[in-house]
């Protein structure tokens, strides 16, 4: 099995943080806990959660901008390493903060927080945003300013404000 094409990070990057679980193996494989197949699934799942969170902010996924992708790689590595640790024998299954279950419970929330915090930076880096804040608005009665052929005609009075002029995707809508 290999990672999905829209996934971030890699098995090697997760291994760097979980090497103590190799138990004598040189890498995660079919004999380790977790197996390499399970680890790849952790990466795919965390990447999927992150992609959905970023799509909710209108960002096109998977993120390919090399700088923005570094952040996504880092986030997914952290989540996958956490999943990997959770495969170990343990107790303490309570709802208390810092317990094993709390790590699982907060995954989607952390993805949404990540997308909310970084979406503006991503857009300014050049990450495409196909769905923008004004997407839900419709205008009738006249052509949108951006579509008018005379919008650069200085002999005509032009509107001071235009659609999407104040889109700040990093802020709450």
């Amino acid at each position: 099995m290999t990672l999905r094409l829209d996934s971030y990070a890699s098995v090697a990057e997760v291994t760097a943080f979980t090497r103590h679980l190799l138990d004598g193996q040189s890498a995660f494989n079919s004999t380790t806990r977790p197996t390499v197949t399970e680890l790849e699934k952790f990466i795919d799942r965390a990447s999927g959660v992150l992609n959905v969170a970023m799509e909710a902010r209108g960002l096109d996924t998977p993120i390919t901008n090399t700088t923005a992708k570094l952040l996504c790689d880092d986030w997914v590595v952290a989540q996958a390493a956490m999943y990997t640790e959770m495969t170990q024998r343990g107790t303490g299954f309570s709802d208390a903060e810092g317990s094993r279950t709390s790590y699982f419970r907060g995954l989607h929330e952390r993805a949404n927080e990540f997308a909310k915090t970084n979406s503006l930076g991503f857009i300014r880096l050049g990450v495409a945003q196909s769905t923008k804040m004004a997407a839900g608005l419709s205008f009738t009665g006249e052509t949108a300013q951006a579509d008018r052929t005379d919008q650069d005609d200085s002999s005509l009075e032009q509107p001071l404000f235009g659609r999407k002029q104040f889109d700040q995707p990093g802020e709450d809508e």
Binding site: R19, D23, G90
Partner: protein
Amino acid sequence: MSYSNGETLILAALRSISGGVWTVSNSGVGKWSLLNTGKADHYAILKPGAFVHSFQAASNSLTEWRTVIEVWQRYKDDSDSLLSLEALSAAIIQKFDQENRLDDTTDTVQDSVCSGGGEVTEQWTKGGGPAWLKQEIFIDWKEEANVTFS
């Protein structure tokens, strides 16, 4: 001879236990970082214990050293992991029963014995259950030295 020389002899004896159970990858003096390497599921870390130093003659000192072997076993499964640790400790005890002079070629180690050990402890992660089992095994050995007064 000094403490570190004796400790080196103990490490060598440990690594000579048959089966290649202990190697440079999973045993060392004070190298707790080994536990993070993933190169084995069990590790042995040596450290100095308490010691007693005295004169047994006018110019002859005797030091009773203790070297502590921390045996670490990764906690993977109930019972099985503990049984693995027990087997590791038993092999160490057996080995040092056979090494009463630690193969010292300088004739300064007078006596060496595995004098005991501690109970097995669980090393927990916060909220995550036991991650390691650890047992300390004590190797007590005596060093005799001639003293030249200044």
